[in-house]
């Protein structure tokens, strides 16, 4: 298969970026999207040009590192997969593919398709944990947890922290990411203890870092590679309200 690639190139956060056009040929349909990028980069190196910088690591859809906006969609046109899990058979032979970095005020570009998502770490540092010390805990089976609750907690915990939600949202809100963590812990008895404090602290941090407000457009859920449901946002709102009432 052959493709024309329109790729965003930008030297660093301060520089102006622009699209450049490249061609790749003889790509097998079983090649993954990122392998296709590897091939392009190897060609560029041989031409003495700088390869396109992009984030990736596990290439199995679990580390959350890959982050490309492809043909107008975060993680490309396929549903419920990360960029690294897309295969070229999903694209039309001969077509043009447009590739951009996440576009979000809270995620400045580092180079080309690489952005700084440190803001997500900061939100979790504000309260996305249970305050336990090593070795000061009860037996794992001391608190039975209904299977349904554990499963729902796991559904929310599947978030890979990729940033597609904020990058997709027209308001630039990180609500789905925050809700996934709050909700995952709120579903468990261990997590309930600090529930109210956690919700408040994380939402406050999100606001402080310049993420926008959630207006429930649902765009985030549609683009989330892990299909995290916006129902978690409703749960976060309940937790948040409860916290406010306690004040």
């Amino acid at each position: 298969m052959n493709f024309t690639l329109k790729i965003w190139r930008q030297r660093d956060a301060k520089s102006q970026g622009a699209f450049e056009t490249y061609k790749v040929t003889d790509i097998s349909a079983d090649t993954s999207f990122l392998e296709m990028m590897d091939i392009l980069n190897n060609n560029l190196i041989h031409e003495g040009k700088e390869p396109v910088a992009f984030d990736h690591d596990c290439r199995e859809g679990i580390c959350g590192m890959c982050s490309m906006h492809i043909n107008g969609h975060a993680h490309g046109p396929s549903q419920a997969v990360t960029t690294c899990q897309m295969y070229m058979r999903k694209f039309k032979d001969g077509s043009t593919i447009t590739i951009e970095p996440w576009r979000s005020a809270a995620f400045p570009v580092i180079r080309d398709l690489v952005v700084d998502r440190g803001a997500y770490d900061k939100i979790l540092q504000a309260g996305g944990f249970i305050s336990v010390r090593t070795n000061s805990v009860p037996d794992g089976n001391a608190i039975p947890i209904p299977k349904k609750d554990a499963d729902e907690s796991m559904d929310a915990a599947a978030c890979v922290g990729c940033g597609a939600c904020a990058a997709t949202c027209k308001n630039g809100s990180a609500m789905l990411f925050v809700a996934a963590r709050v909700s995952s812990l709120a579903k468990l008895p261990q997590g309930k203890v600090e529930g109210a404090r956690r919700a408040k602290a994380m939402v406050a941090k999100m606001d402080e870092l310049g993420f926008g407000n959630c207006t429930n457009t649902g765009a985030c859920q549609a683009q989330c590679p892990k299909s995290i449901s916006i129902a978690h946002i409703a749960r976060l709102n309940r937790e948040f309200l409860a916290a406010k009432l306690q004040d």
Partner: protein, 648 residues
């Protein structure tokens, strides 16, 4: 000068060693902990759990990783589960049984005392993770669920769907975040360690490169912990994440740390087979699939050919025409034999011509029987995400047709030599997780790497490091303007400049792929004297070529992934040779190390305990010099070393 290795194994009965040791080692008072700095390199299960626990104790911790967030370390990709000796299933599991299975699974090439301690703290890990909010799978009664993994006859593996590593890492990362917020840990993402700094024979800091700006930085500490994972990517194609590497470990080796059993590599039996030449990475299909999946190839060559041509579907092959070769050869363990055994058995069938894809390098992993027995829904609940992933990659629906699988490089049991305290041969330098060599002998059992990483980080290192740091309570802050730091930094800068100056014609990937092929063909699943000697010569030649013909673009003063990769490849080019040398020296077969000259009549690994019951510890002598080997004898006080038997 050969090493004087002291494993510091405590005396006394096996079950009392760790308690006795803990009682005997020194502790540091809270007031003094505040004055001590520790560097942790790596944020996988080992590094994150260690840094969080050390921060909680009151030390000042700096933690480094390559990715943009600590949460993305390679540990995140572990699928299947984590072992513990809880005996929640009442199937007569115990600390001793987990210890015994691990020692036996490792083909009697690990230290008894270390492995026993690992089994002993395994139960604490589960408690710890539950308390952090890790959503482990549960039964309808609300209690924790288990599944079975290879090399065990009990069900002791805890899991969170097919994302156990992710959930455990998010747990460790969350307590790390708690400590970062509290100010006891400072995080340096997108920073790569490029050298270890040694002063007066003791580790005192690192040189790191800020991967965004290219700045070379100095960081001092009273102790340095290496938690940088395994070096399987020396093979280019492996199941490891793309940035996984052996460089931090190799820098320690260059500066004098012993490197133990480098040839012990795990080839995982259930990976998606290689297709074409454009691939950058191999995908693992979790070992948990062997709970319900049955491995087979056709009995008849005509069926093999028909399947390859597409004239027959695997599901067309009648039961009696299928060779469930693991069940046939190993009735007691069946599809759940350890990985090294399963991988070699697949190779044996494919070498005999029964490989089921066009390259002849694939076997089937079939869920037909399980779906008939349990229903599609149950299978979907257990493995849904793995099945989806398989279909996404191969375009084949595994609910209808069996998966095709083949062995691939997965894990490295070898690593930096450490004593019982997890300290390397360099005082003040520790190694934990996959980066060290300690607990898995010549073959690691499934679901035991996560256990080891967290055991080291939560429950062992935070105690043992105190024994060393107690001697440092009077020490001032580390001065990073000393000659040792100057030299280390100058060395790093010179290395980088040298690579840019080559201006050759081959990209990093071009050369790395060639190294990978040399390794896979000669230092892979079956090794011989000839293949290993050939590998050494070829790697040396390739290394020369690298220094003459590397093409490196961009510059050092900004984000430059090619430079990162080039530096890692440079180390792999030496590490690959070291692996071949170690494999050449070890004239026996054990665990994942199979020397074709040493096998039993029915093709099983043949150990030579009289000659090789030791850890081989290598000492660096210079880039083109032959390293010196010192042995650490492995004395077995408690377990009788037997020929491993998974047949009955």
């Amino acid at each position: 000068m050969a090493y004087k290795l002291d494993a510091k194994t405590p005396a006394g009965p096996l079950a009392e060693k760790w308690s006795n040791h803990k009682a005997a080692i020194k502790v540091v008072s809270p007031a003094n902990k505040r004055k001590l700095d520790i560097i942790v390199v790596g944020t996988g299960l080992g590094g994150a759990s260690a840094a969080a626990s050390l921060g909680e104790l009151g030390y000042n911790v700096k933690i480094f990783c390559i990715s943009d967030s600590p949460r993305r370390a390679h540990s995140i990709a572990a699928q299947g589960g984590i072992n513990a000796a809880k005996n929640y299933q009442n199937d007569n599991d115990s600390i001793y049984r987990l210890f015994y299975d691990t020692i036996k699974g490792g083909d009697y090439r690990a230290r008894e005392a270390n492995v026993y301690r690992l089994a002993e703290v395994s139960n604490l890990i589960i408690d710890q993770c539950v308390a952090q909010g890790v959503p482990f799978a549960r039964e309808y009664g609300g209690l924790l669920a288990n599944r079975s993994f290879g090399g065990a006859q009990v069900s002791r593996t805890f899991y969170a769907r097919g994302q156990t590593g992710q959930q455990l890492l998010l747990g460790a990362y969350s307590v790390l975040n708690k400590e970062i917020a509290a100010g006891s840990v400072k995080s340096y993402p997108r920073h790569e360690m490029l050298d270890i700094v040694i002063e007066n024979g003791e580790a005192c800091g690192i040189i790191a490169r800020n991967l965004v700006t290219g700045e070379i930085e100095r960081h001092g500490a009273h102790a340095v912990v290496i938690a940088t994972g395994g070096y399987g990517n020396v093979f280019f194609l492996s199941t490891n994440a793309m940035a996984s590497n052996g460089s931090a470990a190799f820098q320690c080796y260059r500066k004098g740390a012993g490197f133990a059993n480098p040839c012990f590599t795990q080839i995982h039996p259930t990976c998606i087979p290689v297709h074409g030449t454009q691939q950058s990475k191999l995908t693992l299909m979790s070992e948990s699939l062997r709970n319900d999946g049955r491995i087979w190839v056709p009995k008849k060559m005509e069926d093999v050919e028909a399947i390859r041509k597409g004239a027959k579907l695997p599901s067309d092959i009648a039961e009696e025409d299928r060779d469930y070769y693991l069940e046939r050869r190993y009735p007691a363990f069946g599809n759940l034999v350890p990985r090294d055994v399963a991988s070699r058995a697949a190779k044996e069938r494919c070498d005999a011509g029964f490989g089921v894809n066009e390259t002849g390098l694939a076997v089937f992993l079939d869920f037909k029987t399980a779906i008939e027995r349990l229903g599609k829904e149950t299978i979907k609940q257990r493995y849904g995400n793995l099945f989806d992933m398989y279909e996404e990659i191969t375009d084949v629906n595994p609910y209808e047709q069996p998966m095709q699988i083949f062995p691939a490089v997965h894990y490295t049991m070898g690593g930096i030599w450490v004593d019982y305290n997890l300290m390397t041969t360099i005082p003040g330098l520790y190694a934990i997780g996959e980066a060290n060599f300690s607990d898995h002998g010549a073959n690691r059992l499934g679901a035991s790497a996560l256990m080891q990483g967290l055991a080291d980080g939560y429950f062992v290192l935070p105690y043992t490091i105190g024994d060393y740091l107690a001697k440092k309570i009077q020490a001032p802050k580390i001065d990073t303007t000393t000659k040792a730091f100057d030299e280390a930094e100058a060395g790093v800068r010179a290395r980088i400049e040298r690579l840019f100056a080559i201006k050759g014609n081959q990209s990093v990937d071009d050369i790395h792929k060639r190294l990978g092929l040399i390794m896979w063909d000669n230092v892979g699943m079956a090794r011989t004297k000839e293949s290993l000697e050939k590998a050494i010569v070829e790697i040396q030649a390739l290394r020369k070529e690298f220094y003459k013909d590397l093409k490196l673009v961009g510059d050092n003063n900004s984000f430059n992934v090619e430079l990162e990769k080039a530096l890692r490849l440079e180390d792999f080019l030496e590490l690959g040779e070291l692996m071949a040398r170690d494999a050449l020296n070890r004239e026996e077969s054990c665990g994942g190390h199979f020397r074709s000259e040493h096998q039993t009549e029915d093709g099983e690994a043949l150990r030579h305990d009289d000659k090789f019951a030791y850890a081989a510890v290598w000492e660096y002598k210079g880039i083109d010099e032959v390293p010196e080997m010192t042995i650490e004898p492995l004395e077995y006080e408690f377990v009788h070393r037997a020929q491993r038997n998974y047949k009955d």
